[in-house]
């Protein structure tokens, strides 16, 4: 009997505690984030979460977010998904059911974003992915749009099209070779879209060689590429492989222009590649040195003592999309945020005090597939130790 009373007392106490924490949070909007804070991609995951914390501090320092005339503080809850799809599912469930976040920013990898889509849909909590470029993140194979999945970046088909159009129209290249990672969906997908667009334009893919991840010796395959004598070599691979391939290509006397995608940008790329990539170009999500990025770049550097990565800016834009949706919806119920996200139309920041209100990586207008439509792609050229912006480019999608 006494035990039962104790039990009831404990339940009551627990209820009071839960009530209290709920009460204290009434003026707070909780936003979730997850990404890899450990493992191979930790650098980018940490860059994203650092950005989230920095921005939340800035929103709160400015008095919070205005929701229908009342100011609310923001809170970000972040978890490490270790770059693992199972872990991504676990932390998504935790963010939604335990932490009761109203929206989630992240993840960065398509491999993590695709499996969490059904969870977001079932629980009706919107997710804005940062750099997950695979089409399946927002649209399933049968064409169904995942209602609660959005992204701040452009997609691989779009990126492939931009790269092909750029190579064909601006650089006047007619014969392309492709060097791709066969067991990586990003690389395989991007190759396919590049090839499709390049051939539609009238170009020819004269050689396509593939390798499996972890490969270190590309000489045999590159010798084949050399024999096909292309005008340009498209390399939709990640920076470490890009550095190795580029060095070996130059060793074999392959002097053609190498062209890549958003797997290239990294502080390590040029250090690993030496001068093998001099003059080469890649498609990026933003111009690191542009006016739009300047205020955040400076603040991030001061706060964390290192350069903001590409993922910092993508996480920024994803959070700006969420905050904008909350303000337009005048509500922070997940379903209302989702409805407002559908009509997102945010012009790019100018660099003048609009770092908390406008995206940095380009005009974000969400289309019917929940992807930004006609988003600007930025062409970057490697010049000495620097990545120099060449021109921005928007293909019709």
């Amino acid at each position: 009997m006494r035990l039962r009373i104790l039990g009831i007392a404990m339940v009551a106490a627990a209820l009071v505690l839960v009530g209290c924490s709920g009460g204290a949070g009434a003026n707070t909007i909780k936003i979730g984030w997850f990404g890899p804070e450990t493992g191979d991609s930790a650098l980018w995951g940490q860059a994203e979460f650092n950005t989230m914390k920095m921005m939340v501090d800035d929103y709160n320092a400015a008095g919070g977010v205005n929701v229908g005339g009342k100011k609310y503080k923001l809170e970000v809850i972040g978890y490490d998904d270790k770059g693992d799809s199972t872990e991504a599912v676990n932390v998504t469930k935790r963010l939604i059911t335990q932490d009761k976040v109203v929206a989630i920013v992240g993840p960065q990898g398509s491999g993590e974003a695709i499996p969490i889509a059904p969870i977001a849909d079932d629980n009706k909590v919107p997710v804005v992915a940062t750099t997950a470029t695979n089409p399946k993140v927002t649209v399933q194979d049968d064409g169904t749009v995942n209602s609660y999945m959005y992204r701040a970046c452009f997609t691989d088909p779009y990126q492939g099209k931009v790269a092909a159009t750029f190579a064909y129209q601006k650089l006047n290249k007619r014969k392309a070779a492709i060097v791709m990672t066969v067991d990586d969906p990003y690389s395989a997908g991007l190759s396919q879209y590049f090839k499709q667009s390049f051939e539609q334009l009238g170009g020819k893919v004269v050689e396509q060689v593939s390798f499996t991840s972890g490969e270190k010796d590309f000489r045999a395959a590159l010798t084949k590429v050399k024999a096909s004598n292309p005008d340009v070599i498209f390399m939709p691979d990640y920076y470490n492989d890009v550095a190795l391939i580029a060095r070996q290509a130059r060793d074999l006397g392959i002097n053609q222009l190498l062209l890549g995608g958003d797997g290239w940008p990294s502080d390590n790329l040029i250090q690993l590649a030496g001068n093998a990539l001099e003059g080469c170009m890649f498609i990026n999500h933003l111009d690191f040195d542009g006016a739009a990025a300047a205020p955040m770049r400076a603040e991030y550097k001061t706060k964390y003592g290192k350069n903001a990565e590409l993922n910092s800016y993508m996480a920024h834009d994803a959070l700006v999309m969420v905050v904008d949706a909350i303000q337009r919806a005048k509500s922070f119920k997940p379903a209302d945020i989702k409805a407002a996200l559908d009509t997102t139309d945010l012009p790019v920041a100018t660099g003048n005090n609009d770092y908390l209100t406008n995206p940095i990586t380009g005009h974000i207008k969400i289309g019917p597939t929940h992807d930004p439509v006609g988003k600007t792609a930025w062409l970057i050229k490697i010049v000495g130790p620097d990545m120099k912006f060449q021109e921005s480019f928007a293909a019709d999608s």
Binding site: K216, A220, A243
Partner: protein, 292 residues
């Protein structure tokens, strides 16, 4: 024809590095009769020794190579003293040696990941850039250097084994350890010598591999290939290891060059299995027992 010759050069370049690794395996196997699976980790450490000697200490390439060779030889000898000698003293079964070797390998690899980190490093470019063209064939400078250095090291090793007293001692011990001990050749000394030589070659292989590709903690995985080469040529036979390594390098390159690199490992391992089934002693091996 040009394409064929170019791929042949690519193949020889890879084969020569397999050879440096394979002779280390074979040497230890010929004396101890077990496959030293920690050999890959010693190669990996050699790559780091060379890298730091050249970047931190600013040594030229030859200095880096000497540092890598000495460092790796030291590690190999320490490994023998700490890990294998206690097993030998207790006359442990060979399986224990193999398991210990694997354990040591994991210990070394993970120590490097924990202390230096997993990010790949790139050697400074000491040979200059751009290919050396002979006719229509382009040879990478690193590849050429690698081939010459491997050849010099391997010829020196063969001369040493065949024409010096120490070399004869190794041969005698490999032939019959008990009998040669009775003739006054200390097995312990020969074993240290063999680990030292194998380690030294591993260090040179490490620095060359690091220059050709990158320095990273998983370099050791490549030794699986040199193991195939050693079995292919005949475990315990030095000329066999050499021949096996060059053949494997060329075969792999032709598979990648004319078929696709996806089939490369498939064919390399098929070759290993086929060789073990058809001729377990390899091309030049002597006894068919105890292949491990």
């Amino acid at each position: 024809m040009n394409l064929f010759l170019q791929q042949l050069v690519n193949g020889l370049s890879i084969g020569s590095i397999y050879a440096l690794m394979a002779v280390g395996y074979s040497l230890v196997y010929s004396i101890m009769n077990f496959s030293n699976f920690a050999h890959g980790s010693v190669i990996m450490l050699g790559a780091y020794f060379g890298y730091y000697a050249m970047t931190l200490l600013g040594l030229p390439f030859l200095g880096g190579a000497v540092a890598a060779a000495l460092g790796s030889a030291g590690v190999a000898i320490i490994l023998e003293r700490l890990a294998y000698k206690p097993l030998r003293d207790r006359r442990a079964p060979f399986l224990y040696f193999i398991i210990t070797a694997m354990g040591a390998s994991m210990f070394i690899d993970n120590s490097v990941i924990a202390t230096i980190g997993p990010t790949p490093k790139m050697y400074p470019n000491v040979f200059g850039q751009g290919p050396i063209s002979i006719g229509h064939i382009d040879i990478g400078r690193v590849d050429l250097a690698m081939f010459i250095i491997s050849a010099v090291a391997l010829v020196a090793l063969i001369l040493f084994i065949d024409h010096t007293k120490l070399g004869k001692a190794i041969q005698a011990t490999a032939y019959n350890m008990k009998a040669s001990a009775l003739m006054g050749i200390s097995p312990s000394f020969v074993i240290i010598l063999v680990f030292g030589i194998g380690g030294g070659l591993a260090g040179i292989a490490g620095i060359l591999y690091g220059m050709k590709y990158q320095v990273f903690p998983q370099i050791g995985a490549i030794t699986l290939k040199s193991f195939i080469a050693a079995v292919f040529g005949g475990l315990g036979s030095l000329p066999g290891a050499l021949l096996g390594a060059l053949l494997l390098g060329i075969l792999e390159t032709f598979v990648s060059g004319y078929l696709s690199s996806q089939y490369r490992d498939l064919i390399a391992f098929t070759l290993l299995i086929a060789m073990l089934v058809i001729r377990p002693s390899g091309i030049m091996g002597k006894n068919a027992e105890d292949k491990a």
